[in-house]
């Protein structure tokens, strides 16, 4: 018994050594103006009869706990920020399907006001997904910083610390319970995902309710801790939603006039303009996404950082790059095909931004972060991915450069050909930005992130859907975009 006891003690000591990020209320806000922008009233004292009644109810509920509720506690104990990120990946995968053509060969646009129709809303393609991951992460991060402000302002302990009769079914922490961070996340996620994935609102609400119930039954939060958290999370998310409604996404799809202009202005420069190789031809994916509001950059900085023009479609450089794609496709090895498929992240997947969240997850999990610090990591990563999407789409539609299979119809791809211009490679931009930001947050993983970035980038040549120039310039663009996020992260108070 004694060695086991010591082992348990040392385990608890390690946990107790994890910082509570008590200063997180002062970390720099991104959308909110201050952590007190949403007011949270002072809670009842721990000897208040109303609070004592909450604890009595909680003890009764714990005595009647079901196996399903225990499973929910175990599920959410991995961390709310991590679990909501996983749920996001699943939602993106579910909605990452392009609309099917109508019988007259036109393509219907997903309609946010009728999300259950065919096609479902949204089409969670890579730019849509990058923006969605960013909004969900930022809403959580803003709400948790505000929650941390009030937690350490009011300092009401967890029920399991306030009353030894309340069991701690998750390792308890010294982070004050009011308002409950689990409820904050459930409220922020519900409000935000309702906007982004309206057809899955019931499932999202069910998950959110389960998270709150798990917080209660595990002895982490009382009913009033949860009520205050839910209200705070919802209110903060609504402030973030105000930004989302005016960030330019609504116009990103363009219209037939704009699609024609993009081609005409490219032809006027003497270049071969991109055409859709789908049958029937599909309008380009979100041609004005390059004008959607970035997070860590301004619109002017997006233009200032724009990639240099690609090799002219009539240049020897382009002919050489095209030949390389042709040769690679014709002599593709099984190992190269495996790399192309490993990183394809096409329709029905969490997209490349989701893949980088997946890559980040074990690092966030193993760091034993507080929820606010985990949310910071996801927010920084996903803001850089969103900004990468904006910068990449800005270049794609500034140059409107054709894919290899358009210039040489004999080139067959081993993965799906994305329906938008070639230059620069989205995978390369996303991966370079994500690897840079993750290396800043988790220096021990820098080597692994860099290797994954290189493999993801070259996978697009193996798939025969990108020229080498798309990849190399995309990587450089991603690194420049990441530098804005990293600069912010060096002085936001959470560094």
């Amino acid at each position: 018994m004694r060695p086991l006891f010591l082992l348990l003690c040392s385990g608890l000591l390690v946990k107790a050594a994890v910082p509570n990020d008590a200063d997180a209320g002062a970390w720099q806000m991104i959308v909110l103006t201050s952590p007190t922008q949403v007011a949270v009233a002072a809670p009842a004292a721990v000897n208040d009869p109303a609070y004592l009644a909450e604890l009595t109810n909680l003890k009764t509920a714990q005595s009647q706990i079901t196996p399903r509720q225990r499973a929910a506690i175990a599920y959410w104990s991995k961390g709310g920020a991590i679990r909501w990120n996983e749920i996001m990946m699943e939602l993106v995968s579910r909605y990452n399907l392009p609309p099917a053509p109508r019988t007259d060969d036109s393509y219907p646009a997903p309609d946010a006001s009728n999300p259950f129709a065919d096609p479902n809303f949204p089409f969670a393609n890579p730019p849509y997904a990058a923006r969605a991951y960013a909004y969900a992460s930022v809403a959580q991060y803003e709400a948790l910083k505000a929650a941390w402000h009030y937690k350490f302002l009011y300092n009401r302990p967890m029920p399991s610390k306030a009353d030894s009769g309340v069991q701690a079914l998750r390792p308890s922490s010294d982070v004050p319970a009011y308002p409950s961070e689990d409820a904050v996340m459930s409220g922020a996620a519900t409000a935000m995902l309702q906007l982004l994935f309206p057809a899955s609102v019931e499932e999202i609400a069910r998950k959110a309710a389960e998270q709150r119930e798990a917080a209660l039954l595990s002895g982490r939060a009382s009913a009033s801790d949860i009520a205050a958290g839910l209200a705070l999370g919802t209110a903060v998310a609504n402030l973030v939603i105000n930004r989302a409604r005016t960030d330019g996404m609504g116009a990103a799809g363009g219209n037939a006039t704009i699609w024609r202009q993009l081609a005409d202005q490219t032809t006027a420069r003497g270049e071969i303009a991109w055409v859709s190789l789908e049958s029937p031809p599909r309008p380009p994916m979100l041609p004005l996404f390059g004008r959607v509001m970035p997070w860590m950059m301004t619109g002017a900085e997006i233009v200032a950082e724009r990639a240099v023009p690609p090799p002219s479609t009539s240049s020897p450089e382009m002919a050489r790059d095209l030949a390389e794609v042709r040769e690679t496709a014709a002599n593709l090895t099984r190992r190269q095909l495996a790399i192309a498929l490993k990183w394809s992240d096409g329709a029905g997947t969490p997209t490349p931004p989701g893949r980088w969240n997946y890559i980040a997850q074990p690092y966030i999990e193993n760091a034993w972060f507080t929820e606010v610090r985990a949310a910071r990591a996801y927010a920084l990563l996903n803001m850089s991915l969103h900004d990468s999407a904006v910068a990449c789409w800005d270049a794609k539609f500034a140059y409107f450069n054709p894919r290899p299979s358009q210039l040489d119809r004999s080139i067959r791809t081993s993965i799906g050909l994305p329906n938008f211009p070639s230059y620069v490679s989205g995978h390369s931009t996303f991966s370079s930005a994500a690897a840079s930001v993750l290396a800043h947050l988790f220096p021990a993983g820098a080597g692994a992130f860099g290797a994954a970035m290189e493999e993801a980038a070259i996978s697009r040549l193996y798939g025969a859907i990108h020229y080498r120039a798309d990849i190399e310039v995309g990587k450089a663009l991603g690194a420049r975009v990441a530098s804005y996020t990293i600069r912010f992260a060096q002085s936001d108070g959470g560094q």
């Binding site: 699943e90 579910r94 609309p99 490993k342 990183w343 394809s344 997946y358």
Partner: protein
């Protein structure tokens, strides 16, 4: 004696017996006889079922799957036959930009045992049990359907067949099998199917049943037959709207076909074979039309009884 090269989607589900004395017919090879041969199949579809929605796809056009197959059946005894076959498969589409795939697909081995045989005045009835196993012989990917050359799943199956034949050679054959399918590995660490995102490269494969009836005429080395059969996969998700097929989809289908084996006059150890089949009902499969031609040769080893 039916060919089973069906929709590219469904190809690796069935035990693909294209051999002279196939796995699922009621015909047994005599002791110390070896039937070996080569067969070419051409499978084409331009319509397919996306879930239960029948459609075409301008990015595929017509999908063609060609199969070159070598096979052999050996009579260990009159009651016990062993069967092996191995196809080389090549896929390609008439439209779109996606590359076709090619390679050696799955080797199949089967042991066929006649455990019951009774003769009466008007004919005979026999019952046959088959144990069959298939395994991929190359490292092909099942993750580029409908271009993949197979589903890359190891399988074992148990089959029962009842065969009635009258004295003139008219026959009626019924057969059914249950196939257990091992999971497959993808080159990626996560996949979405059947309403769920799974964080693994390992895909569980649902098991399958198939059943078919055939009727026709047998005289010496001549066989003429017509068949109807179905495959049912016991689980798996549908292809979603405008999605690509996935390896563990529920690939159900029904098909009809006809088959002939015609010996060369005065050289009846040599036969030419030909067949036609068409998928008529389906879910998550192509509406395949399959044409097959081949040759087979009967080797008679010394020591056999007359």
């Amino acid at each position: 004696m039916r060919q089973h090269v069906t929709a590219a989607f469904a190809m690796a589900v069935f035990p693909l017996a294209v051999a002279g004395q196939t796995i699922d017919d009621g015909i047994m090879m005599g002791r110390r006889l070896l039937c070996a041969g080569y067969m070419y199949s051409n499978d084409q579809w331009s319509r397919y079922w996306e879930g239960s929605l029948e459609r075409t796809n301008g990015n595929i056009g017509t999908l063609t799957t060609e199969s070159h197959q070598i096979f052999g059946i050996y009579g260990v005894t009159d009651r016990l036959n062993v069967i092996a076959h191995l196809p080389h498969v090549r896929t390609g589409a008439s439209a779109g930009v996606m590359a076709g795939q090619r390679g050696w697909q799955d080797a199949t081995f089967a042991v066929k045992y006649k455990f019951f045989d009774t003769r009466f005045e008007r004919g005979s009835i026999r019952a046959i049990a088959v144990a069959q196993a298939s395994t991929p012989v190359s490292n092909y990917t099942p993750d580029v359907l409908p271009f993949s050359i197979g589903l890359a799943s190891r399988r074992i199956g148990a089959r029962g067949t009842i065969h009635y034949r009258d004295r003139k050679g008219w026959f009626l054959n019924g057969t059914s099998a249950y196939t257990w399918r091992d999971g497959v590995s993808l080159d990626r660490p996560l996949f979405y199917t059947d309403g769920r995102l799974t964080f693994s490269d390992r895909v569980a494969m649902p098991n399958a049943v198939d059943y078919s009836v055939s009727t026709g005429y047998i005289r010496g080395e001549l066989v003429l037959s017509a068949m109807w059969g179905e495959q049912r996969v016991l689980g798996g998700g549908d292809i979603r709207r405008q999605d690509m097929p996935f390896v563990s989809n529920r690939m159900d289908f029904g098909r009809v076909g006809a088959w002939a084996k015609i010996p060369i006059p005065r050289h009846d150890e040599l036969s030419i074979v030909g067949g036609y089949s068409r998928v008529v009902t389906g879910r998550n499969v192509g509406q395949s039309t399959v044409l097959t031609v081949g040759v087979m040769y009967l080797f008679k080893f010394p020591g056999r009884r007359s």
